[in-house]
C-alpha cells in the first residue's frame, strides 16, 4: 500500500548514538544523549518522561523534522542525514503521518479539506483524492462531518480528523505527540481505539509520546526518557 514498502525484517526506526544539543546563546544545552533505539515495523511504541526529558525532540528526529547533533537516524531503511531539506520534505510527505496534541487542523478548511491537504503533494487526481479522503474520514467515523470546520467540532472529533489526515497518504510511520493530552477521557479512549485499529488491523508503525499512563498502556512497548537519556 505504501509508496515504498519497507521489508518486514528491517526495523522501521533505528537510532544509533543519537545526541541533540541546542544552543541558547553561548550555552550548549544537551537534550538527548547517546540514544540507541530500534522500533520494529508494525510496532506501537510509546515514550514517557517528565517535561523537558527530550521526548518531543526524539520524535522530531525520528520524523525528520529536526537533525541530530551526532549519531544516525534511519527510518524505513533510509539514513535521514543523506537527505537535504527538500528531499526530507518529500520523504516526510511519503512516509510519515503526524498527529499533534492540539490537532493542528487548518481552521478555515473543512474536515474533508484538512484531510485532503497531504494528498495535494501526491500525483492523485481530484476524484482519487476525494475517494481517499472519504475512506479516511469513514475509518475515523466522521463521514457525517466532512463539511464542518474545526471550530464547529469537539476536541475528540478534531483529533479524529487529524488522524484521518495522518493516515490518508497511507504512510509507513505515524508520529503522535501527546495525542490525548487535550482530550477528555471518553474522547481519549476513542482516539486510542483508533490507534488500535491502525496498529492491529492496518499494521501501521506508531510512535507516540504521552504523559498519560492509560494511553501508554495501549502501546506494545513503553520507553522512559529522563534528562535526555533513554532508560
Amino acid at each position: 500500500m505504501s509508496l515504498e514498502a519497507v521489508p518486514a525484517a528491517l526495523p522501521m526506526v533505528r537510532l544509533e548514538g543519537v545526541s541533540k544539543t541546542y544552543r541558547r546563546g553561548t550555552v550548549a544545552v544537551p537534550v538527548l544523549e547517546a540514544v540507541d533505539l530500534s522500533i520494529a515495523t508494525g510496532a506501537f511504541e510509546a515514550f514517557m518522561g517528565p517535561s523537558g526529558s527530550g521526548k518531543s525532540t526524539l520524535l522530531n528526529l525520528i520524523s525528520g523534522l529536526d537533525r541530530p547533533s551526532t549519531g544516525i537516524v534511519e527510518v524505513a531503511g533510509r539514513n535521514l542525514a543523506e537527505l537535504d531539506d527538500r528531499e526530507l520534505s518529500d520523504w516526510r510527505a511519503a512516509h510519515v503521518g503526524f498527529i499533534f496534541q492540539l490537532y493542528n487542523l487548518i481552521p478555515v478548511l473543512t474536515a474533508a479539506e484538512n484531510v485532503e491537504l497531504p494528498l495535494l503533494l501526491t500525483p492523485l487526481s481530484r476524484a482519487e483524492r476525494r475517494r481517499h479522503v472519504a475512506a479516511a474520514l469513514d475509518l475515523v467515523g466522521l463521514s457525517h462531518r466532512v463539511s464542518h470546520r474545526p471550530p464547529q467540532m469537539s476536541g475528540g472529533e478534531q483529533q479524529r480528523v487529524a488522524i484521518a489526515r495522518a493516515i490518508v497518504t497511507d504512510p509507513d510511520l505515524i508520529i503522535a505527540d501527546e495525542p490525548t493530552g487535550d482530550l477528555d477521557r471518553k474522547a481519549a479512549e476513542a482516539v486510542l481505539d483508533l490507534f488500535g485499529v491502525l496498529h492491529q488491523e492496518l499494521h501501521k508503525t506508531l510512535v507516540m509520546v504521552t504523559h498519560d499512563p492509560h494511553a501508554a498502556e495501549r502501546a506494545g512497548r513503553v520507553h522512559h526518557l529522563e534528562k535526555g537519556v533513554l532508560q
Binding site: F98, F100, P118
Partner: protein
C-alpha cells in the same frame, strides 16, 4: 481543494483586516493613477504636437513679441508650406481668473492651413473670416458656457486693456482626441486694428507656427529662419512644436518632480500596508505553516502560497483603484476647469491605468517576499510549538 483555494481561504481568515488592506491599497492605486494623470496632463500638448510643425518665438523669451512683418519673409523660405501667427490674448470673463479659458488672436486666413486638426464647417469658416471680430470656440468650451453660434462674448483684457467683444461665428471640433477644443480664437485684425490697442503693441504677434513640406528637413528650415533674423532687433528661436510644448513643461519641472516623488511614495505606502497585513497573517499562522511543512510541503510551496495571497490583495486593490480613479480624475477636472481651463476628455490614459495596476500587483508581490521567507526560515519543530 487546490493551492489557490488554500491561499484564498488563508486570506479570508480575517475578513475585516483583508477588506481594510484592499481598500487601503485601492486608495493608493487611485491616488497613484491620479498623480500620473496630472503628470500626463503636463505632457498633453507635447503629445498632440505634429512633426511637420515648427514654432518660431522671440529668442529672448516667449513673453517677448515678434514683428508681424516676419510673416512674409518666413513664408517665402524654401520648404515652408504654410505660416500663421498667434497672439496670447489672456482675456477673462470677469475681473478675475475665475472661469478661465485659453483665448488667442489668430490669422483666420492661414490658421487652418497650419492647424488642420481644428474642424469647422465651410459656412462657419467663411463667416469667421469675413467678420474682423468673429470668433471660433471649441466645442467643449461651448458646452461649458452654453455658447452657440451668433452669441456675443465679451472678455476683459488682462494684457490688452479694456473690454473686447467677439461674435461667435462657429464652433470647432477636433480631428483627433488630443485636439484642444477648450479655447476661443478670434481674428487678429480685431485686436491689431482696434483703437483700444496701445500703439506700442501694434503689428506684433506672439509666435509663428510654420508647416514644412518634409519633417526630415525641419531642423534645416528652423536654422534658416533663425539665421534670417539673427542680427535683427527681434532674433528668433525656432523649434519643433513638441520641443516648444516641452519648454512649457520644463517650466514646471519642480512641480512635476514633486508629483513623481509623491507617486513613488504612494507605491511604498501600498507596499508597507500589504506587507504589514501579510506579516501579521503569516505570524498568526506560524503553527499552521509549520504543520504544512511537517506534512511535506516544500518551503518553495509555502512561499508560493504567501505570494499568491499577496498577489490576490494586489489584484483586488488594483481593480478597485482603477474603478475608482475616473471619478477622482473627473472631479479634479471639474475643480480645475474654472481655474486653469477645461481638461481634454481623454486625459486619463489606458496606459496609465495598466501601468498603475501592474505597479500595484508587483508591489504587492514584493510585499509578500519578506513574510514568505520568514515563514519558511523558522525551523518546523519550533513553529509547531507556537500557540496562536
Amino acid at each position: 481543494m487546490n493551492y489557490v483555494r488554500l491561499a484564498c481561504r488563508d486570506l479570508l481568515r480575517n475578513p475585516l483586516r483583508l477588506t481594510l488592506t484592499i481598500l487601503a491599497g485601492a486608495v493608493g492605486v487611485t491616488a497613484f493613477i491620479f498623480l500620473r494623470t496630472v503628470i500626463d496632463i503636463f505632457y498633453f500638448g507635447a503629445e498632440a504636437a505634429q512633426v511637420d510643425r515648427l514654432i518660431v518665438r522671440n529668442k529672448v523669451s516667449i513673453t517677448q513679441p515678434l514683428p508681424l512683418s516676419y510673416y512674409a519673409r518666413i513664408a517665402a523660405l524654401p520648404g515652408v508650406t504654410a505660416v500663421t501667427h498667434q497672439e496670447w490674448f489672456g482675456g477673462t470673463l470677469g475681473e478675475t481668473q475665475k472661469d478661465f479659458f485659453a483665448n488667442f488672436a489668430i490669422d483666420p486666413s492661414t490658421f487652418l492651413d497650419v492647424f488642420p486638426e481644428f474642424l469647422t464647417t465651410p459656412a462657419e469658416l467663411s463667416a469667421f473670416r469675413s467678420d474682423p471680430c468673429g470668433a471660433l470656440i471649441g466645442e467643449k468650451l461651448a458646452r461649458r458656457f452654453g455658447w452657440k453660434t451668433g452669441d456675443r462674448v465679451t472678455l476683459k483684457g488682462q494684457i490688452y486693456p479694456g473690454d473686447w467683444t467677439f461674435n461667435v461665428r462657429g464652433i470647432y471640433t477636433g480631428a483627433r482626441p488630443s485636439t484642444d477644443t477648450t479655447a476661443l480664437v478670434f481674428g487678429y485684425r480685431c485686436l491689431n486694428e482696434s483703437p483700444q490697442l496701445p500703439k506700442a503693441m501694434k503689428d506684433q504677434v506672439g509666435i509663428y507656427a510654420v508647416r514644412v513640406d518634409d519633417p526630415a528637413r525641419s531642423a534645416q528650415v528652423a536654422a534658416a529662419i533663425d539665421a534670417m533674423f539673427d542680427n535683427s532687433p527681434y532674433p528668433t528661436k525656432t523649434e519643433s512644436e513638441k520641443a516648444f510644448q516641452l519648454g512649457f513643461v520644463a517650466m514646471s519641472s519642480a512641480i512635476l518632480t514633486s508629483v513623481k516623488v509623491v507617486s513613488t511614495v504612494i507605491l511604498l505606502i501600498i507596499l508597507l500596508v500589504i506587507g504589514n497585513t501579510l506579516a501579521m497573517g503569516v505570524r498568526e499562522r506560524t503553527r499552521d505553516i509549520a504543520t504544512l511543512r511537517a506534512m511535506g510541503f516544500r518551503p518553495s510551496t509555502v512561499v508560493m502560497l504567501v505570494l499568491a495571497e499577496s498577489s490576490v490583495i494586489g489584484f483586488a486593490a488594483a481593480a478597485l483603484g482603477v474603478l475608482a480613479a475616473p471619478s477622482l480624475v473627473n472631479g479634479f477636472a471639474r475643480l480645475v476647469a474654472s481655474q486653469f481651463g477645461q481638461l481634454p476628455d481623454n486625459v486619463m490614459r489606458g496606459r496609465t491605468l495598466v501601468v498603475s495596476a501592474l505597479a500595484a500587483v508587483v508591489v504587492s508581490l514584493l510585499a509578500g517576499i519578506g513574510p514568505a521567507l520568514r515563514a519558511v526560515r523558522l525551523p518546523v519543530a519550533e513553529g509547531l510549538r507556537k500557540v496562536a
